[in-house]
Amino acid sequence: MTTSSQPARAPASLAVLAERMVPICGAANVITDPVELRTYECDGLTAHRCSPGLVVLPASADQVAQIVRECAAARIPFVARGSGTGLSGGALPSADGVLIVLSKMRRIIDIDPVSRRATVEPGVTNLSVSKAAEPHGLFYAPDPSSQVICSVGGNVAENSGGAHCLKHGFTVHHVTGLEIVTPQGELTWLGDGTGCAPGYDLVGAFTGSEGTLGIVTKIVVKLTPIPEAVTTLLAAFATMGAGGAAVSAIIGGGILPGAIEMMDALAIEAAEAAVQCEYPAGAGAVLIVELDGPQVEVARETAAVRAICQAEGAYEIRAAADAAERAVIWAGRKSAFAAVGRISPAYIVQDGVVPRTALPRVLDRIGELSAQAGIRVANVFHAGDGNLHPLVLFDDAVPGQGEAAEVLSGQILDLCIEHGGSITGEHGVGVDKSRYMPKMFGADDLDTMQLLRCAFDADGLCNPGKVFPTPRLCGEVPGVRHGPHPLVASGAVDQF
């Protein structure tokens, strides 16, 4: 557990800044009281905590721009925060900085059913976009499991996925335009809402940049027709190996389900204790396969998936006939993270990715590591895209267990990297995993990524200390300059 307690760099200037914020967003929306500030000390990853120096709650893009201009002028760092559901500490504030909370900016500005686009403010919750689009037969496809509460602005920062991103893609596949406040406090648009604006794909580069390139103030997203049919199957297998073989056979058979989720015996036990999901008794693994699309295709694919599961040894297969039954099947899966709290005093949620075909080997190895460490690991994962969410269970009252769990959690990430995977599939790097970045990427790779950071935020004031273990100095580009004169490059003058 880490608690950042570095002294505020310049308390006087923060106090001055707080006064300057009042005319921008009103005294009620400028928080300086230490007790109130503490309510913003962490996001969904509570292991990292730090009380912000100052919290402001702007109500408009213009206010955000003014706030950022003040921060930039005072050279005080700032962090944007949506609903605070992030799982990598991406919205962890700095003690000597400003936390810009966007929860007051929650207008759905427009639903354009014919263009299949929604324009929203960053504080709008993910699910409310789908609710607003539903009367038009449309929905917003990315569905992180926190979709009831998480904000679209946060989804853009993290490039959030969800159970159904296997088929429908991540946030970046659905965002077509962003109004942002640059780290200099300038309001500008990236993209134009069409998805094919001329020039560099700044919308794509910005999405998933974890709040380090600016603050989103408006978002244009694509809306997708609600599928004609959805079927959800739950298949119980004696072993994880059999379940994994079924997953491979489904994908190998050319079927692309909306979601394929898998849980092991320990995760099932936890879910059972929490929500009485009544999954088949004695299962070593359950597979949830959801198929969506045109009725005739879904009917055919459902039959095919059933046959595959039976061939791979499923001893019980249930199909949800309607939305209520579907919810029952999903209840166990969706409760899994919180449910392990029933069977363990403390736990770490890990988020790693491996190529799907490496899943059996990686799961076996996680089992071995778990046995060696004497620490239980419950496995819940998006099997279709190889995104693992091992839950490392420990007792924080036992001295040394927390550390041992951290070590095991890190070993699992090493395992993912070894198998050509990633240290994060959807939770982000944030503050939590920046130390693992050099294991996945070389120094030159990280340096190259940071060129983008330098282009947006040369002063490093926008959500500093996230994603990268060490910041790049943006000041002088090494090497001798013999490029065009700056005035030519800026378009101010022409040279022939």
Partner: protein
């Protein structure tokens, strides 16, 4: 006397020589041409080029080398012809890695053996016959960001790209992304390079997400009397539950009817059943009889422009299709032109094509009038709904020299200042494909 620059380039890369006339790009003739066979060799080559301040232009098979603005200068052409290996096809993971010079036809052959594909179908993508400039390469696909009808369902190259290896202007090798389909570790540099026309660095390797080849495909096509009917047909299809993979529009001439055609992919029996639903939908919306066929219409997936003609890519909000079609015809008529209009109407992308013989002055008048119309609230929809300040664009992809030199091919681009800052970071000396991009980048 031996050329010291050539000597140094030769030490870095096995295959270097004086450029051939065929290496010229839009009239700009380079001094040297090199064909590195690995990322490492490419890096050494670019380091040597950096020492001499050479302007560098990456080149694949040259399928779209005449697109965009001619380079301001070009000393060294880096051919990707020896970067020709499909590095890995992980069929079970539905991913593949290839070097930049691999042809899309070559890649399709490899993937096809496992019943898989890279779901892109740009004109000349290797799926159709000759006359479209042949199949481009993996590197060219990413650098131009070109896409065909399948963009409606699968997006463009940027949406299928999951990992990228590039060499920066100074010779630094950088990797981003990886080989798993789900990965949010670090900035997505692949997005930045997709559609960057070689201005940020040399692409040497890429990894893509794959999709299964469909068991069966069906096209349903309707002829519409006017733009409003065409929009109704496109809208009905795009929002229908039959889940089309593509919805294309083709309007060869102002006086001709408009054709709207949708592609359905899936299992044979199911596709036939969906096609029947769609046929009725299209007929009702388009106001004519709709036809189902196993074959694509003869215009499907082809560029509407000859290689030496003028081709514009127009981006718009799909709900404004009818207004946009009216605006294009409205801009062309006073100029005495009758462009072919075709494209992925449901995805908000249309192409306008003029023949090579079109009067250049008239073409310029048309392009400028069109751009003016694209900012009109009646066309953007801003009269009724909130919109970004720009919500439609007209980019000239290629044009004869007389047109190319007389217009700003890129037109107005949102957040150009940030793009310049990105360019300055990646290529501070402005040696990578200088001048080819928006705003002189």
């Amino acid at each position: 006397m031996p050329d010291p620059v050539l000597a140094q380039l030769s030490r870095a890369c096995q295959q270097v020589g004086a450029a051939a006339p065929a290496d010229a790009v839009a009239g700009v003739t380079p001094s040297y041409a090199a064909s590195p066979a690995s990322t490492k060799e490419a890096a050494a080559l670019l380091r040597a080029a950096a020492e001499h301040g050479l302007a560098v232009l990456p080149r694949g098979r040259g399928t779209r080398i005449d697109w965009a603005v001619p380079p301001r200068r070009c000393d060294l052409v880096v051919r990707t012809d020896r970067l020709s290996q499909v590095l890995e096809h992980a069929a079970g993971d539905l991913t593949a890695s290839a070097q930049a010079g691999v042809g899309l036809d070559q890649l399709a052959d490899v993937l096809g053996t496992a019943g898989q594909r890279l779901a892109v179908d740009p004109p000349g993508g290797g799926q159709r016959g000759p006359g479209q400039g042949g199949s481009g390469t993996v590197g060219g696909l990413i650098a131009t960001g070109v896409a065909g009808p399948l963009r409606f369902r699968y997006g463009g190259p940027r949406d299928l790209l999951i990992g990228l290896t590039v060499v920066r202007a100074d010779g630094t090798i950088a990797r981003a992304g990886g080989k798993v389909v789900k990965n949010v570790a670090g900035y997505d540099i692949g997005k930045l390079f997709a559609g960057s026309y070689g201005t940020l660095g040399l692409i040497t390797e890429a990894t893509f997400r794959l999709h299964p080849l469909p068991q069966a495909t069906v096209h349903v096509t309707v002829r519409c009397a006017n733009a409003e009917a065409a929009q109704a047909a496109v809208d009905a299809t795009a929002r229908s539950p039959v889940a089309p993979a593509a919805v294309e529009l083709h309007w060869p001439s102002a006086g001709a009817p408009l054709a709207v055609s949708a592609l359905l992919e899936g299992e044979e029996y199911a596709v036939a059943a969906r096609a029947e639903v769609l046929r009725e939908l299209l007929a009702a919306a388009g106001g004519g009889s709709a036809e189902t066929s196993a074959h694509a219409p003869d215009w499907w997936g082809l560029s509407p422009a000859a290689a030496d003609g003028t081709l514009l890519r127009i981006g718009f909000w799909p709900g404004r299709l009818a207004a946009l079609l009216g605006a294009v015809r409205g801009a062309a008529r006073p100029a005495g032109l009758d462009p072919v209009l075709a494209g992925s109407a449901a995805a908000g992308v249309l192409h306008a094509a003029l023949p090579a013989a079109a009067d250049p002055a008239a073409a310029v008048v048309f392009i400028e009038a069109l751009r003016a119309a694209l900012s009109e609230p009646a066309v953007t929809g801003a009269a009724d709904r909130p919109r970004p300040p720009a919500s439609a664009s007209a980019l000239v992809l290629h044009a004869p020299p007389a047109v190319r030199d007389a217009v700003d091919m890129w037109g107005p681009v949102p957040s150009l200042a940030i793009m310049r800052a990105v360019k300055d970071q990646f290529d501070p000396e402005h040696r990578m494909a200088p001048g080819r991009f928006a705003g002189g980048i």
